[in-house]
Each structure stands twice: as structure tokens, then as C-alpha cells.
Symmetry: C2
Subunit: 137 residues, 2 copies
Amino acid sequence: MSHHHENDQPTLTKNQALVFGALTGSEGPLTAYAILDHLRDDGFRAPLQVYRALDKLVDFGMVHRLESLNAFVACRHPGCTAHDTAAFAICEDCGLVKEFAPDEAMSLLKGWAKTEGFKLAKTTVELRGHCSRCSVN
Amino acid sequence: MSHHHENDQPTLTKNQALVFGALTGSEGPLTAYAILDHLRDDGFRAPLQVYRALDKLVDFGMVHRLESLNAFVACRHPGCTAHDTAAFAICEDCGLVKEFAPDEAMSLLKGWAKTEGFKLAKTTVELRGHCSRCSVN
DNA sequence: GCTTATATCGTTATATTATAACGTGAATGG
DNA sequence: CCATTCACGTTATAATATAACGATATAAGC
């Protein structure tokens, strides 16, 4: 039995492992089509192979989708415990993405949702700007 | 002279006014192509006419882009003072979007950016879920 | 074991979202 | 007046994402 409990690593299919590998091997986020190009030599031929694997990896909490980039990054949190409260700082110069967990800010947003009666399914927090390395004087 | 100072309403071109009208006349967010369809009778023929107007309207602070929907909404803030700190709650059932201004949460995010040396250009905060009306028992 | 359900996969085609590149004409500023 | 800028219209194309089909494999129930 390979049932997927919370908090253990799911067994990845071959395609899922390939896509996850492409993402962990990349310094920055990748679009689905960039992943497809990386994996042509591994037999990938069509976008759906990438999108299907990405869907699962996002479900598993191993990959995040960056809405403002239409791109994907591997989660850098060991164990991915804070998957639902992750935020991202995206440098528009070098393209690098820093994942962080703004717990207080997320709590405030959750609080707003609660008082509004809004049932929160997913929270997207993405900062766009220029990282410290790229904005040196 | 029709220079655009901060805090006054810019003079809109015909296309910009039409696109803004389509958005203010809509209950919920619209995609660029939905706007195009609304404006066919007004002479719109091509996506660029919509996208160019949207770019300006976003610059002016009159329209927000919802990154997680690839769609646009008219800003509901009179005067649009809080344009840069707006957040959105998007109901996945009825499609309605509530704009709000989570000042404290935004301050915390700004604080994180400051300590990281990250020069913040734009902050995206979007909540996905189910609004109170749609999640009644 | 057999069989029924469930999940993944490969493929083709197509839908949806967005921009490049070109030329035109109107308004602005010197 | 001339140069510059800006908005516009149009055609073409790029980039992102999903529908629909059938095949294969894996798991579950009996």
C-alpha cells in the first residue's frame, strides 16, 4: 500500500519526478513550456504531460504556482509545512524568487476572511520588485 | 495643458473610456477578450485596442489586474488612494470580487521587504475561496 | 483469479491570453 | 514649421492552457 498520508512524501510517477527535478534543478521559476523544453530528451512531447504533473505536484504541496508570472517553483520548505501560507518576492531584474512565510500578515488576512464569512481556499501573496543584489547603488 | 497630476482624474481617450465603462458596468471582473466582445458594437476589432487601454487604466490607478484570474476590475475606491495596497477576495462560486485594503498586513509585507533590502514595486494579494453568500449552509 | 473501478499516460487538436511589428494621424512642445 | 510623442488600427504571431479521445496500468472487491 502506498496511500498518501498527510506529511509524508508521496511516491511520484516518472513524469512527476521529471518535472519536479527540472524545477529543483532550476535557479528560478520555470514556465510549463520551459519545463517541456527541458524534458524533450526524456520523452516529453506535449504540454499536457507537464501540466498534468504540475497539477499533482501543486496538490502535493511540492510546487508553487506564481500567478503573476504564470510560472512554477519548487517549494523550498523542508517538509512543505507552510505551503498554504507561503509568499514570494520576485525580482524583476534577475528573475530570482525568494519564498518566505509572512505568518503575521497571513493571520491578518485570515482574520479578515473570517469576519467577512469568506471561506478561504487559497491565498496568493506575491511581491514584485528588485532584490537587494540587483538594486545596489 | 492637460498634464496629469497625482490625485486628479486623467482625461480618458475614447477607447480608454469605453473599456473603463465596460468594467464599471460589470458586476464582476472581465477578461480582455470579454471586454473586446462587449465593445464590438463600439468599433473594437482587435485585442490590442483593449490591452492598450487597460495598460493605461492600470497606470492611472483606475483598474486592477487580478493575476490569479488574468482578468481586470474597475477600482472601487473613490479617488483610488489605496491603489497600491489593495487586496481582493475572489469567490470561486459566483465570481464576484471584493476589494479591500488590509493596511496592517501590507505594512508587515513592506517591513519584510525593507529588512530584506527588496525594493517593492507592486504587491499582489488575492484570496480565493467562497464568499459568505455562496457558502451559506 | 477475475473484474470493476481509478489513475496515469500519450496524442491531437483547439481554446485562451498576450504581444510584435508596421504604418497612420492627431496633439504637443520647441 | 518641424520634431517628437502618443494614441490608434490592423495583421500576424507568440505564449499559456485545456478538451477530448483512447490506451495502459494499478488497485480494490469479490
